[in-house]
């Protein structure tokens, strides 16, 4: 069970609240589940033509051709079906009420405060086999706040949560109505203000110390700020600045009434709206100490900065539109680039996002992966780009993204090969819980049933 992060910690009180929050009711998965006679695509290794995946307590405990099914396991005979790991959406604002707040710099905010478990988006995730969703503020921001990694089942955000997101959203591309100069100025200001804030806080703490000892101020402000540093405790710092400190690599421990709460360093998802944003994002991350935890979210023609991307060798989240289209202004000749190929050829770790189309199949991650294969990316890499790689990028790679013993049982059962366009998701298991069954998907049935089907049923 996760330790729920309390989104705000006031002085000396945070840990108490955290302790109070561990009692959330979570649906217990059936203790033992066996998927038998199924073709297994583990992604982390070669496929198994016909085998068994055994789940116990929500974890995968055995995978292989000769796995003995315990007598008390609930068995799903999946002859002729194919099972793959639950797919991972690396970056989306869906699931929240709005993509971005109106204020440009909001590092104190958290996606968990806006995630709506009742949104149809999450039902859709089940239907498509997307079992891990990294809900993140969208790109129309400067410092946008924290994300949250959730599964698409659960009554409350606490039940849905897989991991408290370890990433802050930033954007190098200008917000609507702004330009790159203002964008950068605002970003620089946010970090410069942090220095100022800490300095002033230190000065205040030094003054408070003197006041307690009934002494007069004896030094100039510059010196008071230095001396006050010693008086400064992590829990004097507010949410906004604490998160920026974490982003810069700081590990913050806040003492509470029931013990310390540790806030680990944050990574950053930095949106680049064009090639020119990429080197600036990299430079900014280096300057502020989060380059090692940097993920670049690519948009527009960012792939053109491939040299800088390759040199940085940081993971990237690809645009929803996989094909970038350039028009030569003189000849009107259209030149198309298949973006994932450029990135894959550079040897970068990358995550595919579901397509932007309103049509059902195009929103599937498997569709994106299939297109990658068509454009020359290996089947293994294409499958990894919708499972293992995004899981690693968002920091849950040890628990999710492949079918391996010890991993969380997020499994998607397809009617055939997952990248075959006639295949559909038949079942989804999340932490061993049978979370989706296509034969009971009422909304899908309504969508796919015609009047003539109904009358044919009546005649029978």
């Amino acid at each position: 069970m996760r330790v729920e992060r309390i989104l705000t910690v006031r002085r000396g009180f945070g840990a108490l609240l955290v302790a109070a929050c561990c009692s959330m009711v979570v649906a217990a998965p059936p203790s033992k589940v066996a998927l038998t006679n199924v073709r297994i695509v583990p992604v982390s290794g070669p496929p198994i033509a016909q085998g068994t995946v055994l789940i116990e307590g929500g974890k995968i405990v055995a995978v292989g051709e000769d796995v003995k099914v315990p007598y008390d396991a609930r068995e799903f005979d999946l002859s002729g079906k194919v099972v793959m790991p639950g797919m991972v959406v690396a970056h989306t604002w869906r699931g929240m009420d709005i993509p971005n707040e109106s204020r440009p710099v909001v590092p104190q905010l958290d996606a968990a405060d806006a995630i709506d478990p009742s949104q149809l988006y999450f039902e859709e995730c089940l239907r498509l086999g997307h079992t891990v969703v990294h809900v993140m503020p969208a790109n129309n921001t400067v410092v946008g706040g924290l994300g949250q990694v959730v599964r698409p089942i659960g009554l409350s955000v606490a039940e849905m949560t897989i991991d408290d997101g370890g990433f802050m959203k930033l954007s190098m591309a200008p917000r609507r109505g702004s330009d790159r100069m203002l964008q950068m100025a605002t970003l620089r200001e946010a970090f410069a203000e942090l220095q100022d804030y800490v300095a002033r806080l230190a000065e205040t703490k030094y003054e408070e110390k003197l006041a307690k000892e009934e002494r007069e101020i004896d030094v100039l402000p510059v010196e008071a700020r230095k001396r006050g540093r010693k008086e400064l405790k992590a829990d004097h710092i507010d949410d906004e600045h604490r998160n920026l400190i974490r982003l810069k690599g700081g590990q913050v421990t806040v003492e509470g009434e029931s013990g310390p709460t540790l806030f680990s360093p944050l990574g950053a998802f930095v949106y680049c709206g064009s090639a020119m944003d990429v080197p600036r994002a990299i430079a900014f991350a280096k300057a502020h100490g989060f380059f090692d935890r940097l993920v670049l979210v690519l948009g527009g023609d960012s792939h053109k900065a491939i040299k800088a991307l390759k040199k940085a060798a940081r993971p990237v989240v690809l645009p929803e539109n996989l094909v970038y289209r350039d028009v030569d202004p003189f000849t009107n000749k259209i030149e198309e680039t298949f973006v994932p190929k450029v990135i894959a050829d550079a040897g970068l770790q990358f995550a595919l996002l579901p397509g932007p189309s309103a049509s059902l199949p195009e929103r599937m991650l498997t569709y994106q992966a299939a297109r990658c294969m068509r454009y020359g990316i290996s089947r293994t890499d294409a499958l990894r780009a919708i499972t293992q790689m995004p899981a690693e990028i968002i920091g849950v790679g040890e628990r999710l993204g492949s079918i391996e013993v010890g991993k969380d049982a997020h499994l998607v059962v397809f009617s055939g090969d997952p990248l075959e366009f006639t295949s559909v998701v038949e079942r989804v298991f999340i932490d061993g819980i049978p979370a989706y069954d296509r034969s009971e998907d009422i909304r899908l049935k309504r969508l796919l049933t015609t009047k003539s089907d109904e009358s044919a049923d009546d005649e029978q």
Partner: protein, 417 residues
Amino acid sequence: MIMDFGSRLRLVAALLVGLGTSFAVSAESPSLAFRVAKVVTMDAADSVINDAVVLVAEGRIVTVGKRAEVTIPDDARVIDMPDQWLVPGMVEGHNHTAGGLGDLNDMVYLTNPGLDTRATIDPNNRLIESARWGGVTAVMLIPGSGTNMSGFGTVSKTAGDTPDEVILRTPGSLKIAQAGNPEWYFGGVGRRFMNWNTRQTLLKAMDYNDRWTSYEAGTSTTKPEYDPIFDGFRGLFKKEFPATVHTQIYQVLLTTVEMLGRQLDLWVVLDHCTFDAWKVGPLVVAQDLWVLNGPREYHFDRTMNRMIGNCSGWWKNGVRKLGVNTDAPVVPERELSYQATMACWYGWQPYPALAGVTRVPSQALGLYEQRGSIEAGKIADFAIWTGDPIDPRSACLMTVVDGRIAYDAADEDVRRF
């Protein structure tokens, strides 16, 4: 020479003190005996007394019992209504009519902890007056939901001439609006910012309370500075009054239950609770919070393709601390009984619905020790109805507030229906 009103009042008071307290009180409220067909007491045992007499003196209920068993004192004025029902005065938990229709919202900040409806109480404005026509005897007067925290509410009686006479408790509650209106604040805000900001304001107030509490307990020697913005919150954290929360829609309800109920452990009354909010029922039960549903009593569920009664949904999900509200002036407070009627039309049950406009809101707002049931010793707040108030054919004939007849339909000058 004209004596101003204040000094005249002081003179009268001085005279009354001189004459002795008992005389003063009995002169103001003579004892009354109500002979009725049925008393729905709304006591803990849910007793109903048929063919009953209720004796009232000095503002309180003295005796409740079968007609044959109660001796009516000679000097009591007998109100003989042998075919009618006597039920506790209704309590309206969510009401914006403190000063009529003005003074609803101050859009200063997204949270406005320093404001209070006490400043707007106008006891005999037309809207409050009309509450008496529908058997409503107490109301929670709260500011609007334009911002996440619009100020403190006031619990008030529906009869009386000055603010001091009608105010039952101040602050009556803290008004919080989680979402579904405040997002229109200036440039627009989302739930991430609203929730963070509301929580932040409450934590600051909690800090203020903690500093004072430890100073008063002697664990800290530094006397905190008095802060008029946060001082009102002390009662909230001491659970002397609840947070009245404008909340609706599944996710928003979740936030209320999680943040205000579980994390901050406040006394929470969930108001509105509309749309698909009833689906949060199990979590509301787990946190033991109050639900006052309304003004909308139904929700069209697109998944099920049918109409859902909100109260029916809450009830089926196990919520028993359930009542309704009018959100007056959205629905006039005199129609509180119709809110319960409508909840029944959409699948709730009449007796719980009657409790949902009397006992439950009275308990939810912390008034039940003194009011909200017909029991000896309680303050005499009740109404006489031609039948079950939940039956829309029934009419309110008389409303008694503090043992005084505040509305009498027999009086042609005040009769409205």
